[in-house]
């Protein structure tokens, strides 16, 4: 009922978003609370009205980033398409989006490192990765049902592999810009499809 609560939350998200951009660009330790405040157009003390400390700020920033990415995914997911086509569309849409949020992605990586070292809220990330795998898994399952994918596919691990490939590709692309992300994705998709679609027989030695 109190309209201020809305304001407070909006302001919170605003600050977190600004912080996320800075963290992505310069890294957690190089970003000062003061620079976040300046970038958000508020006083340094005010940041502490919304976040208990710098750590909380990074958690908030990460949540905001994840929300954006998940929203993008959900929005892009087109259930009128056949499952494998929906996955293809999703894949390339993400590639497109990444060309625009590359810096944020750096922040994403860094956050994972922080978690690994005991800082941050691991739950957020685990949950998000699980959700990501499940979305892909769900599509693959539907594709099995639709006969687009071979029935004996280990869906959970295929989804995990897909996701791993995706993040690894971005990761390498950040290091060497060649080949560009779209080319890499195209080649992968081709090869991914070859691996999962029905076939007469496998002839491995």
């Amino acid at each position: 009922m109190s309209p201020k609560i809305v304001d407070k939350n909006a302001r919170r998200l605003e600050i977190a978003a600004v912080a996320g951009v800075l963290f992505g660009k310069y890294g957690f330790d190089k970003v000062t609370v003061d620079s976040v405040a300046k970038a958000a157009g508020i006083g340094k003390g005010t940041v502490y009205e919304y976040f208990q400390n710098k750590e909380a700020l990074i958690d908030g920033a990460f949540e905001t980033l994840m929300t954006h990415m998940m929203t993008h995914m959900t929005d892009t997911l087109d259930l009128t398409l056949r499952p494998l086509d929906a996955l293809r569309k999703l894949t390339f849409s993400m590639v497109d989006a990444l060309n625009h949020v590359g810096e944020q992605y750096g922040f994403f990586l860094e956050y994972i490192l922080m978690l690994n070292r005991g800082g941050g809220n691991a739950g957020i990330l685990t949950g998000m990765l699980t959700e990501y795998r499940q979305m892909v898994g769900g599509l693959l399952e539907a594709a099995v049902d639709a006969g687009q994918v071979r029935a004996n596919l280990d869906i959970a691990n295929a989804a995990a592999s897909y996701a791993a490939w995706f993040d690894g590709a971005i990761f390498h692309w950040m290091t060497i810009q060649s080949p560009d992300l779209k080319t890499l994705a195209t080649a992968f998709w081709d090869f991914f499809v070859s691996g999962i679609t029905p076939r007469e027989e496998a002839q491995i030695a």
Copy 2:
């Protein structure tokens, strides 16, 4: 000329190795030069005898790590096997090794982030990644010649995809320990082979 006999290079590598472990465990900014010195059993000033500054220390540590990893790869590479088998062996050997250098791998990720933000020596990393892709590409090419892999495979991109998957898998594994790396690798391998081996025909919609 020098009255004190010290193998300056050996000492340098020693310090870099110690630093690498700490950087991997706690991250660059959380590691103090003093802690590196203590861990190496030397005085703080001595670190500065071998490295101009903390940045140089991280470059040195990275070089050391890369050298180790490349050496491990080369050592593991068994050219008496058929190419695809050699690649499989390499893959699982790396997975094994990673269970032991997981922390170092965190350092590896972090270094990439630093490079992306303008610090560090980008050349080392680019070179290493290129070398990694080439090694895999070489094996795939040999596999094509041996008829183990379909002839129309885009080798360069398949190698890049393989490498991307590999790093992405480690990356996700660092975040959620489930499934374990070996399971993930087994599923990927199966599915990778399906994608690259010869087949009657592709039946994609």
Copy 3:
């Protein structure tokens, strides 16, 4: 806008003054920023709120000292006296003052050395010395008009010589306390006056 009312400029001058005393007593390099803070009764970080770095602190201290000295001179300058008498009064008043700011004077010397080596703001000092010479030159000129000084005196260089003597005298006095500054000044004044006042004829060989 600012909820905390602090006269930033007053605080700045206060810190500079305190720093000036310490610099004078112990020299720039022997004085730590922390000791300045302690002496000013503030925290170390606060010093950096007012001065960008230690160098800025010394510039500020010097400005403060110069302002004090110049104010003292101007206050002492009595224009109701005949010009030469005004200069005499000024001279001895400065001597008196110096017995109290001797330590500061050490800082003054040191600052000049720093300037000579490329640090500090040379403009401040040059301006101050020029002003000092002009004040003396003005008095000598008035004395010429009043017939107290011989008309053919090279005023600019006499003023420069006077100033040089003054600083040199302080300088030697700092080294050997004998003779005391007043005696030295008395002798100089007598002899200075002999050199500049009108005379029948010069009988130099």
Copy 4:
């Protein structure tokens, strides 16, 4: 009898001279023992064979500088000239010399500051200044005897004033290069002579 003693002393003087140049150029605190060693073409440890510590090094450097200056003075002193002319020659010769040892002079000033703050060997400096005043005083006394200077001159204080002027002039010249030292000296000399030479009567108010 031992020829090594000569060597040792020569080496000592050599190091001190080199140190003096560096101290003059950069200031005591900015000069490292290592840089002195490098400049002297020896090892860092060797410096400590000849000087107990950095402080001793500065004392040695100062002694060397003083010896040079005194030697220059004594060499220049021409007793075949009439006393006042000898003093004039000495003055201008020193001015000439200073154009070449300006940097060393900075060291001289700094040393005085150090003494004033309790470091260094005050005796050396006091002795040297006394000697300097006595040399000038002696010439003035001889000039009185020769009738070149008025008999009622307070010789001790005139000598002290002369010396003070000299150092003050150099000091100002270091700050503002204008007027050049020779011009300043010419004006001073003219005016000094006016003040000390015999005259009919003083007509001061």
